[in-house]
Symmetry: D2
C-alpha cells in the first residue's frame, strides 16, 4: 500500500494538503519508550513552512496532537497516532489545475489514476505537506535510535550549480540551512534568491550520515539497507535519485580502489575507507551509513508554462499561483533524516536476537 | 522478508551459490498466460556465466525446470515454481573466507548477522548467482508485459571511465554487450580487458528504458514507481545508486528547464521532454520510464588485499581465488531488465480498474 | 502488524478506550466512490453504547469526523481517515487493574507484553470500543459492496441457553436486537436481564449471511475466504470460535449428506443445499456465504472474583466497577457485519480481471 | 498472497497434486539452528499417504530434499527451501472434472477463478497433498519450538458420531490414530470402515494442545493468537470451523462460570480453569493453548452424485474415481500440529525483546 512503510514497525500516513488534518499511525514501537514532545516539536520546526525568507509563505503551526499510543509521555504498546490540523489552506488557488495540469507536478498522473476525483488542492496527498507526518514518525524514531547511540545528520551538499566539498565530520550542522562550508552556504543562498527573483526554482543534493549504527542490520537481496532506505526516501516528493557510499562515482572506479580494506582498530573491525557507505551485501558493516538524495527543482515556478486542457484536449498555457518554496532542499533536510530514521529503526527492530 | 518482492505478485527466491539448487516461486500471475520456455531460455542465456571471454569461467547450464504452476505451457493459477540445479560449484575455493572476509563482499556482514553459520561458499545467498532466479521471474514478466505492448531495453552507458553518449532510440540493442555507440563499445571492452589483465575489475552504469507503459501505474508516496523499482533493482548485488529521468543531473537544473511541458500530440497527452523519466508523483505519465543503475566494480580481484582474521582479531592479507567477472555490468544488463519488469508488472496488476 | 488488516485494502485502527480519540485509516478504496455519511452514522448507531437498557451506561456520541480521503462526499484516492473523539471516559475506574488483572480481560497479558506500560484504562487498545473504528471501515465497505449488489445481514442465533432455530430468510432483521423468532427474542432478553440482575453476564452466537456475492472471490490455501474472514472476525474482542456453513456440524456428517450437489437453475450453477457456506477450496461458489461467531460472556461482572496482585505475587480478590454490557452480543451484530464486509470487499478488489 | 503465511517467518508453498514436485520456502529462521532430518522424516511419515488401511492407496515416498538454506544440518540464514517429487500421480483419473465439477471439491470454484486453466488433476493446488509442504515447514518449527520447551500435541476428539471425552493429559498420543480413549478409538475406526464399505466418508474434530508456551505471545486485535492460528489452520483443506478454549460452548456460559480466575501457584501466575484456551486479548497467558478444528467428511465418495456440465450448462451425474481417504482426520492430525507450530513460532519470533 502506498501510504504505508515498514516491516517491523509500520507507518501509515494520511491526509491531503488541504484536508481537515494530516497525520500518521506508527505501529510496532516497543512499550515504555519515552517520547520527548518538545524535542519532536523542535524537529518539526525544521521542516515547517513560513519560517524563512527562502520558503513558502504558507504558515502552519504544525502542532502535533497525539491521539493514541502515548500515556504520560511513554508509549503504551498501542499504535502511536498523531494529527496536525491544516489551518492555512487556500483551496481556491488550485481549482483550475484539475483539468490543466501543472508541469512537473502530479496533477496529470492523479487525473489519470483517480479519474478526475483526485484532490488536487495544494497537491492533495502528493503534496510536500505529507512529509510532516513522515517527520512525526521519523522524529520519534530519531529519539529511539539515540537511545541506541545511533545518530543521523543530513546536510546540503549542493544547490543548483553550487557544490560544497567540505568534509563536515560526523556532527550535525546547526540551523535551518545546514552546509559544512560557510562560503558555499552563502553562494547557495544566493543561487536560491536569484532563482526566486527570476520566478524560477532550483534543486539540490542532500547527504545523510548515520553514525553509531551497529554491524548486522538489514538483510540480503530485497531486504538490504539500500532497498529499505531508498523505498522510504523516494517517498519524499521531488527525490529523483539516491546513491550509497561512493555511489555513481564507484561505477568509474576500479575494484582495487573501491574495495574498502578491513582492519582491526581498537579491538574492532572497521574499514580504512568507506566507499561502501557502510553497507555490504545489504547489511551494515559498522561504518557510518552514508547516502545522498537528489532533489529536482520545485516544479512550481512563476513564469507561464505550456500545458494542456485535459477536457478539450488542446494545448493551453498555465500560470502557477499558490505559495511555494523556490527550493525545497533546505526544508527537505529533516525529511531525509526522518525517512532514513524510520528505515534504520525498522531494520534495528528486525535484528536477529539469540532466543 | 529479504528474499521476497512484490505486492500484487510475490516473487520469492531461494538457494545459495553452492547449494543443490537455486530457484524462485512467483505467486499471483493470472491463469491462462502462455509462457514461452524457449524465449525464457534465451533470456537466461544473456545472464549465464561462462559465455564470454569477459565473464567468469564458471559454466552453468542454468536450465530452468518448472516444478509447479505451469500446465501445457500455460499458467494454471497456482504459484509458478522453478529450480536451476547448481552443477559447477567448487566450494573448496571459499572455505577460508568464513573467518577472513573478502573486502567489498558480504562475508563480514554475513558473519556478524548469522553468527558464523553463514554459507559463504561462492557468496552464498548474497551471490550474483541469485540473480538467475530473479531472471526467471523477470523473464516471465517481460513476456507478460509484451502482451500489453510494454517493452524493456537496458544497455550499458558507461564502463569505468568510458561513457557512451549516443542516443540508442528505444529499440533493444542486440548481443551480450549492448552499447549504442560502436566505438564506445570497443573502448569499454578494452577497459574491462585491461583491468582483467592487471588483476583488477571495473564498474559501470546501466540504463533501462521502458516503452509502451500506460499512464497511471504506481501510487503516491511509498508506492511510487521510483520506490518500487529501486526496491527491486537494489536486490541485484553491486548496485550502489539509482536515478530516474534527469536524476542527479536534475539537482543542478532550474525548474524552468527541468519541468517537462505538456502537449497534445496525435490526440494524446505527452511531454515535450522527459526529464521526469516518465514518472510524476510516483505514477507513470505515459512517457518512456527511464532509469540508470550504478554498479560498483567486482570486489573479487586477483591482487592481495588487506583483511582481518575475525577469530584472532588481527590484520591479515587475503587473496581471492575463485572464478570471477572482471566486470559484472554486461551480465547485469538482463538482470536490470528482469528486476524492472517484475516491478512494472506488479504495478500493472495493481491498476485500479473500474469495478 | 496487529492493528492492520487487509491485502487489497488496508485498514489500520488506532486509539484506546480512554485516549483522546480513536480512529482508522483505510487505504486502497477506489477513487470516486460516494460515501453516505448519514447512512454510516446510522450504522454506527447500532454499535454505539448507551442506547439500550441492555448495554453499558457509558454514552458516546461516536460522531465520525473524516479528516482525509473524502472530498465533496466522494473518495479521492488518498487514504480515508476518520476519528471519533472519546468524551465520556472515566479513567479513575480502572487504575487498580494495572496490577490486579480482571479475570477474562487482557489486563494480565497486556501487563506481561508491555512490561507495565500498557494503557489498561477501559481496556486500552483491547477494548470493545476499538470496534467503533472497525465499524467505520466496515460501514464504508458495506456501502461499496451494495453497489455490487452484495449484502450482509447478521443476527443473533443464541444468547446463553436460548437458541433461535427460525430461518430468517436473507433479508436483514430490523432493530437493535435482530432475532428471527419473536418468542426467542423475548426469551433472550429475559436471559440477559436475569444475568444482569444477578450481577452476571451471558454470551451468545451471531450468524452472518452474505448474499449476492459472486463466485470466484478468495484464493486457495491461506487466502481462502475462511482464513480471511476469521482473521478479521477474531479481531472483535470476545470471539472464541467461528464456523462456516455446516461448520462443526459437518464433522459428524457423512460425505453423501454434507456434499452440496450442483444443479443448473435459471441458467446458473448453484448448489441444492449450502453446507459449504458458499465456500469451496477457499473460494466463493456464488451461494450465500454463511458463518457463525461464538462470543464469550462479558468478562466484567459485578460479583467479586479471585485474582492476583502482580507486584506482591499473592492472591487477592477483585471487584470490577466501570460500566459494562451484561451481554455484548446485540452490539456485536454490526461489528460482525463490519468485519465481514471488510474481508469480503478486500477479496472483491482482488478479483482477477482479464487484463 | 494465498500460498504464503507469516509475519516474522514467511512460508511459501508451491506445487500441485500432479505437478513434477511440491515444496516450500521458509524465510526468517534464525541461522545456526540444527534441523534433524530423521525426525522430520518421521513427522512427515505421520501424514504420508498409503500407510494405513484407512487411507488413500496413492503411495508417495514423500522424501524431503533440502535444496537451500541448510548447510551441514544447520540453518545458514538463507531461506530454507525443500522439495518433494511427485511420483505416483495418475492424471488420467481427473480429466473429466475440468468441466463436470465434483461436489464438495474446489473444481467449480477453480474453474470460475482460473477461467478453465486450473490444474484440476488430483485437486491441483487445492489438494490435501499440499499439506505435505506445510508439514515440512511445521515439522521444522516443531523442532525449533521444542528448543524453547514449547510442545504441540494434537489428537482426534471425534469421528462422525463418535466422540472421545477422555482427558488425554498433555502428553502426545502415539501412533497414527491418536485418540485418548481406547474404546472410543475402536468405535471411530469402525465408523470410518463402515463409511468406506458403503462408498461414503466421514468427518471429525481434532484438538490441539500447546504446552510450555510463555505468556506474552501474540498481539491485540488482528494479531491475536486466534487470528494467527485460524489463518494458518484454515489453510488445511476440509477445515470448516475452529474454536479456542471453551469456544462455542462459552457462548452458553455465564461470565461467572467462563471467567478463569487467576491464582499464584509455585510463584507463577496461572488460571484455575482454562476456558480461555490460554489466550486473553489475543495474547498467550502462559496456560496451555487449546483449540479444536472441525473437518468436513472427504468430498470424494464412491456413489454417484449430481453435478453439472459447465460447458453445456446442464445437469449431469458424476462418479468420482481416484484414490481417496474415507476420512482425512487421522492424517490431518500432524497437519494441524504443523499449521499451529508455524503460527506459534512466528509469534514467538515476534516477541518484543528489550533492546
Amino acid at each position: 500500500m502506498s501510504s504505508t512503510y515498514g516491516e517491523n514497525i509500520k507507518m501509515t500516513i494520511f491526509g491531503q494538503s488541504h484536508s481537515p488534518a494530516i497525520g500518521m499511525v506508527l505501529e510496532g514501537i516497543p512499550a515504555g519508550k519515552a517520547i520527548d514532545a518538545d524535542r519532536l516539536a523542535k524537529f518539526m520546526e525544521r521542516r515547517a513552512p513560513g519560517r524563512s525568507s527562502l520558503s513558502t509563505k504558507r504558515r502552519e503551526a504544525d502542532a502535533v496532537e497525539f491521539i493514541g499510543g502515548i500515556v504520560n509521555g511513554r508509549t503504551c504498546g498501542a499504535p502511536v497516532a498523531a494529527v496536525i490540523r491544516n489551518t492555512d489552506a487556500r483551496s481556491t488557488d488550485y481549482s483550475a489545475f484539475r483539468t490543466v495540469p501543472r508541469p512537473g507536478h502530479a496533477d496529470y498522473t492523479a487525473y489519470v489514476k483517480y479519474g478526475g476525483f483526485a484532490d488536487t488542492a495544494g497537491g492533495g496527498h502528493f503534496s510536500g505537506r505529507l512529509t510532516a507526518p513522515v517527520c512525526i514518525a521519523g522524529g520519534i524514531c530519531i529519539q529511539l535510535l539515540e537511545e541506541e547511540n545511533i545518530r543521523l545528520a543530513a546536510r546540503i551538499v549542493s544547490i543548483g550549480s553550487v557544490t560544497d566539498d567540505r568534509d563536515p565530520g560526523e556532527a550535525p550542522l546547526d540551523g535551518d540551512f545546514p552546509v559544512a562550508g560557510e562560503e558555499a552556504a552563502a553562494r547557495m543562498k544566493e543561487e536560491i534568491e536569484r532563482a526566486a527573483a527570476e520566478g524560477d526554482s532550483v534543486g539540490g543534493v542532500v547527504e545523510c550520515v548515520i553514525t553509531g549504527i551497529p554491524a548486522g542490520l538489514g538483510d540480503p537481496v530485497f531486504g538490504g539497507m539500500e532497498n529499505r532506505i531508498s523505498a522510504a526516501v523516494f517517498g519524499i516528493p521531488a527525490v529523483k535519485g539516491i546513491e550509497f557510499g561512493a555511489g555513481f562515482g564507484a561505477a568509474s572506479l576500479r575494484g582495487s580502489s573501491n574495495n574498502d580494506r578491513f582492519e582491526v582498530k581498537d579491538g574492532k573491525v572497521r574499514t580504512a575507507t568507506n566507499n561502501s557507505g557502510g553497507i555490504l551485501g545489504g547489511i551494515t558493516n559498522g561504518m557510518p551509513l552514508v547516502f545522498r538524495a537528489a532533489f529536482k527543482p520545485t516544479p512550481s515556478i512563476a513564469s507561464e508554462q505550456q500545458s494542456v486542457d485535459l477536457e478539450k484536449m488542446e494545448n493551453i498555457p498555465v500560470r502557477v499561483g499558490g505559495r511555494h518554496d523556490p527550493c525545497v532542499v533546505p526544508r527537505a533536510v529533516p525529511c531525509v533524516e526522518a525517512a532514513a530514521a524510520i528505515a534504520v529503526y525498522d531494520a534495528f527492530l528486525g535484528r536477529k536476537i539469540e532466543l
